[in-house]
Every structure is written in C-alpha cells, then in structure tokens.
Amino acid sequence: MRSKVVFARMLRNRQTRYGLIALLLLLLLAYVGPFFGPHDWLEKDFTAFMEPPSADHWWGTTQIGQDVYAVALHGMQKSIVIGFLVALISTGLAALVGASAGYFGGWLDKALMWGADLLLVLPSFLIIAIVSPNLRGGSWLWFVLLLAAFSWMITSRVVRSMTLSLREREYILAARYMGIPGWKIIIRHVVPNLSSLLIIDATLNVSAAIIGEAGLSFFGFGVQPPDVSLGTLIAAGSDKVPGYSWLFLFPSGLLVLLVLSVNLIGDGLRDALDPGSNS
C-alpha cells in the first residue's frame, strides 16, 4: 500500500519524529493538562489579581483573578482546533479547485484561476478585518472559513500544473476511456497521486493558520470574547508588558512551541516525501 510506504518514510525522518513527539506532548498539555491544574479556566480568584507565578497559580493570574495556566491551556485548545480546521479546509479546497481546473481545462480552468488571482490580490487581512465586525456574536467557525478562504490559492496553482501532467498518464486515460466521469477520476486518481504535496501543504498550513489567527486576534479582528485563543491572550498580555510579563510570556511561549513543532513535522515531511524540492 502506498499510504504505508509514505507513513514509514515519514517516521524514518528525524525531524518529523521529534516534531510529532513535541506536538503530541503539546496536545496532551492542552487537553489533559487542565485536569491537573489547581484551578478551572472560568474560576476567578478574588484574592489574587495580577499575581506573579506561585505555587498556587503556576503561571500567575490575570487582572480579574483568572489562573493563567488554565486560561492559556484553554486558549491553546481553540488555537489548535482553528489551526487544524483551517488547514484541512484550505488544502481540501486547493486540491479540488486545482485538480478540477487542471483536469477539465477550458473556461472552467480560466474562471477558477482568475478567481484565485483575484483572491491573491485582495489583502486577506483587510477583508477579514472588515467582515469580522459583522460576525460578532456569530460563531468562531465563520472566522475559520474566512481564514481558509484566503489561504488556498497558491497551492491550487501548484496542484493545477501537476494535474496537467497527470492528465496525460496512461491510467487516467484508461479510466477516461472506460467512461468514468471526470469528478470520480479526480477523487480516485488525481488527488491520491498528489497526496505527498497535499500532506506537506496541510502541515505547513496548520502553523500558518495558528499564526494568522493570533495575528488577527491581536487587533481584536479574530476570535471574539467570550471565546479565548492564544491570540486574544497574547493581545491582552502584550499591553501589560513589561511590568506583568507572565501574562504575555506564557501564551506566546505556547504559540511558538506549537508553531515550531508543526513546522518541524512539515519540514521533515518535505524532506521525506518530496526530495526534489529545495525551499
């Protein structure tokens, strides 16, 4: 099986292995860690405002007495979910659009690629920031869709050009002459043959989405209260720098570790699955 070969090759790469271990540890921290902390993330300790890290509050407290350890881990859960969802949607969209454009060609190809060009010209930051006030009160899932909508274009171009050459391969010609409809060929034959590119792209999209979310939330355009994410926490903490730096340092540290581990995996994957590339 091809997928087994791919998986084995992935694990043989040292970078990917370390990245996977680090990511697993971070996931454990985010989802299991809160059970070991002495406080719940919604709890407010009215005897400790803006306290530095101590035995009771491991990472200190905020100005309303929340435990930074509990809040930061809760925020990290949201950041992880957003990162993975955005990567999944954006890579899926890139694969579908790129493969259809390349496979069907003609006016569909022109229209889809022109749309991709248009989305590239629009500065995504601006559009998301303008649209997000209208979604206030709406769910953060909208925000995920917006982030994904602006991150698939370049990959879809790569997918398209690779599909153009795949289209002429014998097995695809054979499938076409057997009368199998185009969309089925794309799902069964084209996309699986691009899997290594797509896996790498999805991984790198995870870290890009996590940073993108944090960046937008930094200005209040991203995740809206009462939801918290690493971005909103960093934004809230960065006002208190340098006096109360634990409010800023712990969420930022988690963010950097998260991005670092995902990037390690992505980089290793590229070495393992795509030996020809060099960027």
């Binding site: 629009l122 303008i130 930022s252």
Partner: protein, 324 residues
C-alpha cells in the same frame, strides 16, 4: 514579449480595479462613520450629521452605488476622498507613506542583505557547526510571529535600560521638543528596535532560500569552469555562484517590499509608528470608509508593482531571460 507584457499589465490593472471596488463596497456597507457623530455630547442634529456626511461622501442614507460612483470619479482624477473628520485622504497617505518608507527601506535592505550573506556563508560551510547553528537559529526565528518578537525586543530593551543605564527607545518615531543634531540622533535611536524586529524574520527567511540556491549552484559546471580557468575560489564564488543564486532571493525581495509597505502592521502598531500598516488597522477601527478603501487600493497597486519589479530584477540578473 511586448504584447505579452501589455496583456499582463491590462489583466493586472483589471484585477486591481476589481479588488479595490470590492473593498470599497465592503467598507461602505459594513463600516459606520455615522456612529462617530451620533454619540457626541451635546447631541448633533440629524440634518447636520447628514449634510456633513454628504460632504465627505460617507452618508449611509445614500445608495452605496451612488457613493461608489462619486468615489471612483474622484480616484480617477487622483483624489482619494475625505477621512471621517473631513481631512484629505491624499495628504494623510503621503505623510504615512513617508513614515513607512523611512522604516522599511532600512529594514528591508538590511534584512535581505544580511540574510543573503548569512545564507551564502552557510552554504559554503555546509554541514559544519556554523552552518548548523545558522540553520537552527533561522528555523526558530521563523516560528516566532512578529508581534511576539517585537514585544520580546521591548522587554529586552527595558531590561537593558535598567541594567546598563542605556536609553534605548521603544515607542514612537521621535522625541518631541528636540531639534537639530539631537533630534537626528533620537530618530535613529527610535529606529533601532523596529528595524531589528523587521529584520530578524527576513534574515532567517532569506538565509534559508539563499543557502538552498547557493548549494544548487555550487555543484554546477560553470562554477568549476570558473575555477579551472584560474579564478580564485573567492572570485568564482562571488562573481559566478552568488550572482546566479541571487535570482530567487531578488524575486522575493521585490515581492516582500511591495507587501511590506502595508505589511509592517505589527511592527508599526507595537512601536507606535503611524505608517501605512498602522493606518490599515486604525482606519478600520475608526470606521473610516474612504481611508480603508484608499489603503486597500494602495496595497493592491503595490502588489502589482512588486510583480513588475521582480520581473525586471530577474531580467537584470539572469542573462537567459533577456536572450529569450
């Protein structure tokens, strides 16, 4: 070649026009400059608000399309409209482009220059300790978002000021009240931290590209030929290898410079510089429709020019392009 370039230019101009129009419609329908006047104490009469907003082409009672036509006829003649306070968007933009350029010119040139040098150095010393240290450092720096980096620099500067008694500035562009030589020094002082925050990421980025490119080129025949015809190792590396390997970095340079003009949002906001990037955020937060539209138009035009610029740079550096 000429026809191809012309065709590309036309399609790009069309894209910019569509992008700018879409941004205008979005801003005009979802931002609410009226709220800026309605909340005032003492209250302003509605008729007064209406006539003021009419003057600035911001009245939400007028159909969006009508406002759009007014806006476009202004933009075509080079007038970007008025801010919500009634000031000229053009003046504000000119001032802010100046601020951004001052920050970005130094930052981008330093960042890409040092990055290319570091990358080329790492490639020549492949797999040695220095190469590995550079590689790991670049990898870690690229995982740190700008806003975290900028704040860390602030924390570092405050700590250094306390410990060593230095006076490293971390907010604003200049110190009011100074003049002459002192003001020049103060401006330079204010530049240090934002420039570092802009540079570090770029150095990491360029060093990775340049290292890979350089490694590709180092093994090629023309470098060996250069050595064989008697050039020293240094001359062969600098004249033949580095120049060829510069092409991709130069392409990125053109593109990042175009996007940086509005892309230094975090650096400008965190260090208190009122440039284009900061305006992008401020205008949205202030419900300043015309300013938002202007920034967006500017950003789209920048990307367009960056594309053209990168074509020219590649043609200048890569002889093969000129021949074909």
């Amino acid at each position: 070649m000429g026809a191809y370039l012309l065709k590309r230019l036309v399609s790009n101009v069309l894209l910019v026009a569509i992008a700018a129009s879409m941004a205008y419609f979005l801003a005009a329908t979802s931002l609410n400059p009226r709220a800026k006047y309605e909340g005032r104490q003492p209250p302003v009469a509605e008729a007064v608000i209406d006539s003021t907003l009419d003057d600035y082409n911001l009245n939400d009672k007028k159909p969006v399309f009508e406002r759009y036509v007014t806006w476009v006829s202004g933009v075509v003649t080079g007038d970007l409209g008025k801010t919500w306070q009634g000031k000229s968007v053009n003046d504000e933009m000119g001032r802010r482009i100046g601020v951004s350029l001052r920050l970005l010119l130094i930052g981008t040139v330093l960042g890409s220059g040092i990055g290319v040098a570091v990358g080329a150095f790492a490639a020549i010393r492949q797999y040695r300790v220095s190469d590995r240290v550079i590689g790991v450092a670049a990898f870690v720096i690229m995982a740190v978002p700008v806003f975290v980096m900028a704040k860390m620099l602030t924390i570092g500067a405050v700590g250094m000021n306390e410990l060593l008694g230095t006076k490293l500035e971390y907010t604003g562009e200049y110190t009011p009240g100074l003049s002459g030589w002192d003001q020049t020094l103060s401006r330079l002082n204010h530049l240090i931290l934002p420039t570092i925050s802009l540079c570090l990421g770029q150095i990491a980025f360029y060093s990775r590209i340049q290292r890979n490119m350089m490694l590709d080129v180092l093994g090629q025949d023309f470098v060996r030929t250069a050595r064989a015809k008697g050039l020293s190792r240094k001359a062969a590396l600098l004249k033949h290898a580095l120049r060829t390997a510069l092409v991709p970095a130069a392409t990125y340079f053109a593109f990042t410079f175009g996007t940086l003009l509005t892309g230094a949002i975090f650096t400008e906001k965190i260090f208190g510089w009122n440039g284009m990037g900061a305006w992008l955020v401020d205008s949205i937060q202030q419900n300043d429709t015309n300013a938002v539209a202007a920034v967006n138009l500017f950003a789209a035009v920048c990307v367009l020019f960056a594309g053209l610029l990168s074509d020219f740079i590649v043609a200048a550096l890569d002889p093969r392009v000129r021949v074909s």
